[in-house]
Structure formats: structure tokens, C-alpha cells
Symmetry: C2
């Protein structure tokens, strides 16, 4: 059986490179030189994003299989490209691996990376492999493209724009809570099996998120460029705060409009968590949060495509950023969650 | 005094972002959104390279000040862009930092990163900051540009091309040997001062390498596109092997043509190392190694510019890859170093 050590860095890179087929016409040169080479076309812009993932901080190999980890590491970067209303085309992947990992483990990781690349038509064009003293380090950079004038930034929301989200929220967070609970159970009793039945959806949301390239394609199809956009990685509340701050606006969102999956609700009930808390703070759903002009809203309804949920609207900055609860109360949104109003609040 | 914890991730990013001024006309959007945005022009190609640096593997903070580390981490990536005959324009920087680092330490690191960016007119356009369980992790991605047809790959060397190098070799390696020696001395005797006098040049080559953007500019000026090019990061021997393998060629280089600095020779003498070993295997010099057509050679001599050393020539693959020693002997080059011929060699 080959080992990582016997292969060496160049051997490992070769092993990875030979499984890769180039799919994007803009990829002129992939792995094998000092740099990858990417073609450009007039009137197109490139977007670049990067993420650093460290074992023990961003992932726990106790319950995250390496194949899933590879897939997710790619997916979250592609999601950032989508969040600009651009299309991902290339990624680079660097890994640092300690002695505890076998070659099989690295193959599993790259199987996941390759699966995500294949699904989204993205080319793995370069990277770096190195040994590490402790644990696994993954650094991914994604590059995408979009025509000039079609990108969506965080700072373009206008008053009366409709706030939309591309799917249900809080599921990935509740999937994580379930995994954490089962991990504790397993630590206490080695013979028991984790009880995950009936929660497949929220587990998949946590372990295998999908970037919404279909939403970017749909927006193109119906001719809508969101006035602002982000992906929900830290939680709806936190992302809304970014859009409001950078656009210098306020917002209203409605509790009863925020899509929450039935498994999310069920898990919330089991763990005594308010589902709206999971939706506002949870994060890692990687849905797209965006604002559109009112007149664009009908375009979503007249063309079949992915379901888009209108959850509120953009207002003047002075009106604050608030959640309207199902009971009709107003609560101020905060970076992590929200806080019910009190008339003598001191930190408005 | 502020701490990293009190700032938080967003605070840290803001702190970094506010010290940055955009210099490149192609940088349309830097830090502050889901992606950076980079402009393209017709007839230009983008090149991308990335490096992952881990404490204890790639650097030792005992003798590498954080400011130098930041500078070097950027420099080595810009060097990879130069090695394609392209010009670096943007970088992203991701860091993972454990609790042992103060905010001052991170500021020092970014001072070095910024100094390299300023010197080479490169924009820091994005990245990621995260906590880590152990030590410091740095991941840098560099993006550059060059016109179609002007890039140099590893696989374009032709028979009779002249092999050139842009500066002396082995100095960075001997600088490292000196630092290692002084580290041992310091560990033994806490009162003694490291003896570095007279070795400033080789220390600087190790601690503060410079990417040869000036050589890329000069090549443009004299209208020469190298038929193949790499930067010397792993050692002359190893890089030559890559060019020969990928170009399907052999080579001859001459011991007495390989430029070696006088401080390198002196340190080699002190440590009983053959200077040619340091030059062939040392690595980290970040000089450009390239091949040019014979008729292009006179262009280097007729225009003032950085000194370029012709060290040998490309030959047919069947003639092997050999070093001609000062004494006139031939030795076969190997990935790490070289080996004198014996007529009954079994692994030719």
C-alpha cells in the first residue's frame, strides 16, 4: 500500500492531477506549472474568493466524513461566487496534512472535492500540498466570471426593494445540533447507534450544502440583477446587517415569511430551540439572500424556476432593522439574532 | 490594549482593510464583499498561484521575524507569477492564528505583507481570518496578468536554447544554515549574541527574497519571451529537471558558469559544504531560471538591465541532464543534486 510519504509532494500532486479533466473553456492551463492560466473575454469581470478551514475550528472529523468535507469546502467557496451573481469556473485547493492521515483519507477528501467540481462544472487548476504538524488544513480559492454590470454587491439595496431568500433557513444549524448531540451520546455509550432517522434532510444541509448556481442561472434567464446579494453563511440576521450597513438602509422582515423546513421545526422542538432563532442565527445554509426592485418581483412568478421567498423589504436607515413577529410585535435584529424592543434601550 | 479576541473576525478584517490603498487599475473591488472583483482586458490572460505556509514546517518564528515572514510569504507567490513571465497584480491572504499571538504580532505580519504589496504595486483584495488551535497558518493566492502569447511555460525548451539564470544561487540556503547554527548556539548559551556579521547578504536572501519583476519588465523591453521559465524555489537541479522533463529534453550546465556569491562561498567553507551543492540543491533563491533561443542572447547584451547569466544549453533528451564540472568531468543531475557517472550505473 502506497503512503503519502513514499509518494512525496510531487507524487501526490501527480496522483491528484491525473484524475482531473478540464471542463471550462476559460481554463487554459491547470495543474503542472508555476501558475494556472485563465482566459478572459472583453466585457467580463473575474471574481475571487478564498477560505481557510482548520481541523478543530471549522470541522470535526468525528462526524464529518472526509468526502463530505471536501465537497463542502468547495461548495462554500462556489457559494461566495454565486453571492456576487457570478458563475464559478476555477478553484485552487491547498492542503496541509499531518502524519495521522492515510493516503486513502486524502483520496476520500479529493473524491469529495472532485464530486463538487464535477457537479458544478468547475476546474481544479492548482494548489499546494504540504505536511503539517497537527491535523488537517484546507485552503480553497474560487474564481468566477460575470459580465460587466451584472454583478451584485452588498451595498446596492434601495428603499422599498423586496428582500428575498432562495430557500429554507436554520436547517444546517439544526443538523449540527443533532450531530453534536449524537456525538455526546456516543462518547457516553460506545455501543449505541446514533439516532438520525427522520432527520436526513437537516443532516444533508449541514454536511453537504449546495451553492445556488441554479439561482444565478435563473436570475439571468428572467433578466433580473439583484440590487444587493450575499450568501447565508453566518445566519440571516448577520447577513441582513451587512447588506443594511453597506447599503446604508434599514429593513423589515416577517417571521411568518421566513421559510423553515419541517425537520428543522421538529428538531427545534426536541431541543427546545425557537425555530426563528435557528433561522436567524444558524448560518451555513448557503442560500442566497438578495434584494430586488419591486417591479422585478413579478418576473419570478411568471417563469418556472427555483422557489424564491419574499421575506420583507428595505426601508430608510432611520427606521432600523426589525423583525415583525407572527404576533405583530417588532424586534430589533442584531448581528447574532434579535432583541425585543424596550422604549428605554440605551444602545440603539 | 486591544486584543484579537476583542476585535473579532470582522474587526480584524476592518483593521487590515483600512490600511490598504488600491493601486492596480484592474482591481475593481477589494476587501468587503463576498468576492473581490478583477477587471479583464481583451487579449490578456490571468495567471493564478497559491501557497500554504505552516508554522513549524515552512517557517520557524525563533529566527524569522513576523514582518519578514509576511514579506516573504507574499514575495514567493509573486515570484511564481514572474515565473510565467507575467506581472503580479492582486493577492488574497488568509491567516489562522492561535491564542499565543498578540494583535501586535498580527500587525507586524501585515506590515510585512503590505510592504511587499507596496514595493511590487500589488493589491491585497481579500482573504480570510480565523483562529487556530496551534500556531500560525498563512495561505496566499496571487493573480497576475500577461498578454496572450507572452507567457512562458515549463514545457517549451528547445534543443540548443541557452539556459539562463537571473542571479546567484545557494545564498538563501547558506543563510538558513547560518540561522540554524546560531539557533543551536543560542539554545546552548543564552548570553551569547548570534554572529551574523559579514553575512548580511545571505541572511537577507533567506529572510527577504525578492520576486524578479524587474526581469519580466526587462524581457518585455528587449522583446524576448523565454521558451521556458521557472523560479528557483526548490533548487537549480530540481527546477532544471522539471523543465527538461516537461520539455522532453536534456541539458548541459557548467559548474564555472553558475553564479555564486562570495558570502555563500565563505559560509560554505566554514561549514565544509561544496558551494556547487548549495547552488544546485539549496532552493529559496527565487531567481528566474529560463531558456531562450540562441539568437535572442545578444539582446541581453546590447541593452542595459539586470545581469543575466548563461549557464548552459538545452540538448537532446538522449544526451541526459548533466553538469560539466570545472575539472571537465560530467555528472548526472538529479532532483536533489547530482551524481558522478559510473559506467555501470543501473538507474540511468
Amino acid at each position: 500500500m502506497e503512503s503519502i510519504e513514499s509518494l512525496g509532494e510531487f507524487g501526490l500532486i501527480k496522483r491528484i492531477a491525473k484524475t482531473i479533466t478540464i471542463k471550462q473553456p476559460t481554463t487554459k492551463k491547470g495543474i503542472g506549472d508555476d501558475c494556472a492560466v485563465i482566459d478572459t473575454t472583453a466585457d467580463n469581470l473575474k471574481v475571487v474568493t478564498t477560505d481557510l478551514l482548520l481541523e478543530g475550528i471549522h470541522f470535526d472529523l468525528t462526524y464529518c466524513p472526509l468526502k463530505h468535507l471536501g465537497y463542502k469546502a468547495v461548495a462554500v467557496n462556489l457559494s461566495d461566487v454565486c453571492a456576487m451573481n457570478a458563475r464559478p469556473q476555477q478553484i485552487t485547493v491547498s492542503i496541509g496534512v499531518s502524519g495521522k492521515f492515510t493516503l486513502k483519507a486524502i483520496d476520500d477528501l479529493y473524491d469529495g472535492i472532485r464530486a463538487a467540481c464535477d457537479r458544478y462544472g468547475v476546474d481544479l487548476v492548482g494548489g499546494d500540498t504540504t505536511s503539517s504538524l497537527t491535523g488537517l488544513t484546507i485552503s480553497i480559492t474560487a474564481i468566477g466570471e460575470q459580465r460587466t454590470g451584472k454583478l451584485s454587491y452588498r451595498d446596492g439595496a434601495h428603499e422599498n426593494d423586496i428582500i428575498c431568500v432562495s430557500g429554507n433557513l436554520g436547517a444546517a444549524y439544526m443538523g449540527l445540533q443533532l450531530l453534536e448531540r449524537e456525538k455526546k451520546v456516543l462518547h457516553g455509550d460506545k455501543t449505541s447507534q446514533p439516532e438520525l432517522k427522520g432527520y436526513e434532510y437537516i443532516l444533508e444541509r449541514q454536511l453537504k450544502p449546495e451553492p445556488r448556481t441554479d439561482v444565478v442561472d435563473f436570475l439571468e434567464k428572467i433578466g433580473v440583477v439583484p440590487t444587493s446579494m450575499m450568501d447565508v453563511s453566518d445566519g440571516l440576521s448577520s447577513e441582513l446587517m451587512h447588506i443594511c450597513t453597506q447599503s446604508d438602509k434599514g429593513c423589515r422582515i416577517y417571521e411568518d415569511k421566513i421559510p423553515i423546513h419541517e425537520q428543522t421545526r421538529k428538531m427545534c422542538e426536541e431541543l427546545s430551540i425557537n425555530p426563528i432563532v435557528a433561522a436567524l442565527n444558524g448560518g451555513e445554509d448557503y442560500e442566497l439572500l438578495f434584494t430586488i426592485k419591486q417591479e422585478d418581483y413579478q418576473k419570478f412568478q411568471s417563469t418556472p424556476g427555483p422557489e424564491i421567498y419574499a421575506i420583507g423589504y428595505v426601508c430608510d436607515k432611520d427606521k432600523g432593522r426589525r423583525l415583525i413577529t407572527t404576533g405583530g410585535d417588532e424586534a430589533e435584529l442584531q448581528a447574532q439574532g434579535w432583541r425585543f424592543f424596550s422604549s428605554n434601550t440605551s444602545d440603539k
